[in-house]
């Protein structure tokens, strides 16, 4: 199948290095301490953060840092073909773990000893790149909850099809069987915190694809910072003196 037309356009009309439309909204779950919606094209994810609060299960309490937990779940209607999956299948467990580890790396957990932070991400629509969207949504929700962090984490994926590196794969491109590189970075520190790839790639091409994904992360980071800054200003001027 042809994923990039001779004119250099992808199936959904994007250029190879073009990202889908991204959109973020802060504060969508009324009762959570922090929450956000993040959209990348048709992929739509809600994240809610509860905490830091007293550890619910005392035996899990850590005396010098916060306990970070994460649960990822997919709505029944999120995929193209409706599937009813049991909760806690292996894929969700793995993604929960990835998100938890990624977020834990940037939260300053030592500032909140003996407390617990819960991150819940709910996929409303899956159209490729859910992993990245979840991490971006979780970052926004944590920032909204006022949890101190070293840096924001942003994530984006890239792939390689028809000998072309492609940024931000959608579901059709993702299921084409080509390599799919998901990268998560700390933009300020300029470090990679998450890197996953399936399938094989020659090293020099891998470098290209990873570079492309990293550029994508930076673009997401710029957008997230804008949203956060605007939100902060709004909170401040609304509150008044």
């Amino acid at each position: 199948m042809e994923y990039v037309s001779p004119e250099g356009l992808r199936l959904d009309g994007r250029r190879p290095m073009e990202m889908r439309q991204i959109r973020a909204e802060i504060g969508t779950v009324a009762r959570a301490d922090g929450s956000a919606v993040f959209e990348m094209g048709n992929t739509k994810v809600i994240a809610a953060v509860y905490g830091p609060r007293e550890v619910q299960n005392r035996s899990q309490q850590i005396s010098d840092q916060a306990l970070v937990r994460c649960e990822y779940s997919m709505a029944n209607f999120s995929t193209g073909d409706r599937r009813r999956k049991p909760k806690g299948d292996r894929r969700s467990t793995e993604i929960s773990l990835v998100i938890r580890q990624t977020m834990e790396a940037c939260i300053l957990t030592h500032l909140m000893p003996r407390s617990q932070i819960d991150i819940f991400v709910q996929v409303l629509q899956a159209d490729g790149g859910t992993r990245s969207a979840c991490i971006n949504a979780a970052t926004l929700a944590l920032a909204d909850a006022g949890i101190p962090m070293r840096d924001i984490v942003t994530s984006c994926s890239a792939g390689y099809l028809n000998s072309t590196p492609l940024l931000d794969l959608n579901y059709i491109e993702d299921s084409a069987g080509g390599p799919d590189v998901t990268v998560g970075i700390l933009p300020k520190l300029d470090k990679v915190t998450l890197l996953q790839m399936d399938a094989k790639l020659p090293l020099d091409i891998f470098e290209n694809v990873m570079g492309l994904a990293t550029e994508g992360c930076k673009a997401v980071a710029n957008y997230i910072r804008e949203v956060l800054l605007e939100n902060t200003k709004q909170l401040e001027y609304r509150r008044g003196l």
Partner: protein, 319 residues
């Protein structure tokens, strides 16, 4: 961006936008570069000595924010004042909390902090009001003072060496809150002031603005200590009595009106202080707006417009 979760029609949307823009233009802090987000560099003069405070960290010799908020500078101290966050206790703060556990010689309270706070039996004024050692009998009777789920008002005493937060309730004004409702708002909306207990005489109700964002609106109670004595001695009798005595309707209307005023201000993200709450409640009754309709879109827009006007008058006066 934090959208208001309100259904607005076209004109309401424009009016609200206009009011918020006005608020924006009036605010001094938001227009300057003082607002920062996570990982923003905070400009400081590195030649001068400075102290890095809350919400900042050192990254390769640069001062960087760790939370979203507003940069504040006090003498040499540079810190980021976080906006939306969990409550950050300060010694002397008045807080409202809910008892989650009655343990040995102490109560544990949920106060919207990263841990539960501890109120020791020894930090309580005893019902008889006499300073004395706590006996084993007192310990057995702890539940007659506060039991699980009770709403309690207290003061932040200190941080213990193990990091736990200690409260105290050594005055008549502290203690159990009954006959009313508890509201939860974002703690940054409640400013520290001289007065957190308000007796709104015109309404006959008590308003307690906990610094932790827990706000109590309830019937006015005269002597709090008297109540505790009551509770301890004839708790059985009082529960029987209570069954008949509901809050009088007029007072309940006032409580609900004030409570809804708090809800409106908190949804709009405005400062929740006593004057503004009363003003908002009075605005609603002067316009003959039904108590429940206060939570509708129209009233939110009205309050936003009113607030924009009020603040612009205030800045003019200052000039």
């Amino acid at each position: 961006m934090r959208g208001l979760q309100l259904p607005l029609n076209q004109t309401q949307r424009i009016r609200l936008q206009r009011a918020l823009e006005k608020l924006h233009s009036l605010s001094s802090k938001a227009n300057s570069d003082a607002s920062v987000t996570v990982a923003d560099t905070i400009p400081v003069n590195y030649d001068d000595a400075f102290l890095k405070g809350h919400g900042t960290t050192d990254l390769n010799g640069e001062l960087v924010a760790t939370v979203c908020g507003v940069v504040e500078r006090v003498n040499k101290l540079v810190y980021v004042r976080a906006l939306r966050a969990k409550y950050k206790p300060e010694v002397g703060d008045i807080v409202v909390g809910r008892v989650v556990e009655v343990a040995q010689k102490r109560w544990r309270l949920e106060i919207n902090f990263s841990q539960d706070a501890v109120l020791m039996l020894s930090s309580m004024n005893m019902p008889d009001g006499i300073q004395r050692r706590r006996t084993a009998l007192d310990e057995l009777n702890m539940r007659s003072i506060f039991e699980e789920n009770d709403v309690v008002c207290a003061e932040v005493r200190n941080f213990h060496h193990d990091g736990s937060l200690q409260l105290q309730a050594r005055s008549q004004k502290y203690g159990k809150l009954e006959k009313g409702q508890l509201l939860v708002v974002d703690p940054f909306l409640v400013k520290k002031s001289k007065q957190h207990f308000h007796y709104l005489e015109q309404f006959g109700i008590d308003l307690i603005l906990g610094r932790n964002g827990f706000i109590w609106v309830g019937e006015h109670v005269e002597a709090r200590d008297g109540m505790i004595v009551d509770q301890a001695n004839n708790s059985e009798q009082s529960t029987v009595e209570k069954d008949q005595a509901y809050t009088p309707l007029e007072m309940r209307q006032n409580i609900c009106r004030i409570a809804n005023a708090v809800r409106v201000l908190s949804t709009l993200g405005f400062n929740v202080d006593a004057d503004l709450i009363i003003e908002t409640a009075e605005l609603s009754s002067s316009l003959n707006i039904d108590i429940h309709d206060m939570l509708g879109s129209e009233f939110h827009v009205l309050v936003a417009e009113r607030e924009a006007e009020r603040r612009s008058l205030m800045t003019k006066r200052k000039r």
